[in-house]
């Protein structure tokens, strides 16, 4: 290297137009997952939301509602503990826990490894409960057939504008804890309007896992998805 200016006379500077997604390597694994699920005829549903919005409870409700009609498998993503997996296991369905440690999201490779440990030939529906977080999971395509975002009424109707990516990447927004609507300042119309600003095609279901309101509509939605 030249002492005067730091240039390297033996090398030439090359400019390379790359124009590729930064998370391209994740997308390669996501594509493999998509093919694998398609091969087994399994509908994968990636559930994303803040912590405490009711993902695990909704999965439990769904297992009960579909018992005998649809075989379900579950992959649980958490920073620590396998508490959610234990809850699901009590319902008698195959479940795998991914403990991410430091990572605030699941990526397609983690899901791929977990899928290898599930009997995909004996399930119709695979729920993937992502790490509770409205930001990071949205950046990672997992290769599931459906992305669903849960927004609970206690979180506030302004979340779609504050955390736009997860609403942009989801085909369905499930507004949970509708039984609490009377006690909180949550305007479902505003939440829907803001979600549709980032994603005009997003579908909406309002439900309560506790009272059962809207659960029928949810079940219909995923059964329709599983058939197509």
């Amino acid at each position: 290297m030249c002492q005067e200016c730091g240039c390297s006379p033996d090398t030439t500077r090359k400019l390379l137009d790359v124009r590729r997604k930064v998370l391209e390597d994740n997308d390669v694994w996501a594509e493999r997952n998509r093919e694998m699920l398609r091969g087994y005829g399994v509908l994968g549903i990636n559930l994303m939301s803040s912590p405490g919005s009711g993902k695990t409870t909704l999965i439990e409700r769904t297992i009960d509602a579909l018992r005998g009609r649809c075989r379900i498998g579950v992959i649980e993503g958490d920073l620590e503990t396998d508490r959610d997996a234990r809850r699901i296991r009590q319902r008698g369905v195959p479940v795998r826990q991914i403990t991410t440690g430091q990572a605030c999201h699941l990526d397609a490779f983690m899901l791929h490894e977990a899928m290898h440990n599930l009997p995909l030939d004996r399930i119709d529906l695979l729920f993937v409960e992502n790490v509770g977080n409205l930001v990071c999971p949205a950046a990672y395509d997992l290769g599931t057939g459906m992305n669903v975002v849960l927004l609970s009424t206690t979180e506030g109707d302004d979340k779609p504008a504050k955390y736009p990516l997860v609403f942009r990447r989801s085909e369905l927004m499930v507004i949970t804890k509708s039984d609490l609507l009377q006690g909180v300042d949550f305007d479902p119309r505003l939440a829907v309007q803001e979600a549709r600003a980032v994603n005009p095609l997003i579908q909406v279901i309002v439900l309560s896992s506790r009272t059962g309101e809207g659960i029928g509509e949810w079940i219909e939605y995923i059964e329709r998805g599983a058939k197509s």
């Binding site: 390297s8 090359k14 790359v18 590729r20 930064v22 998370l23 390597d25 736009p164």
Partner: protein
Amino acid sequence: MHEFSIVQSLLRTIGRYAAEHSATEVSKVIVRVGPLSGVVPHLLRTAFDTFKEGTVAEKAELCIKEEAMRLHCDDCGRDSGVSSPMFRCQHCGSLRVKACNGDELILERLEMECP
């Protein structure tokens, strides 16, 4: 805070291109980030500066181009460009707008030293 994971993917990709072109060093990395990408530019920079050590991009400068987002207004029919995730028509103030883009997270260009 997934910028650390994103940077690790970015550095893997850079390493691949550098090896393909037998580059001895990567001097500049240009990425394009949209306001809906979920990435905070200064956190991306911090993560990059932390993880680039010991890689071929050790001396690289990270250049982040913050992309504007195009909003289409359902009321007045016009488009406006905004650089933050704000959903209001810049012409008529309507909230009935749709984002046409904004989730970009793209490795645009590399400057490399090659023999």
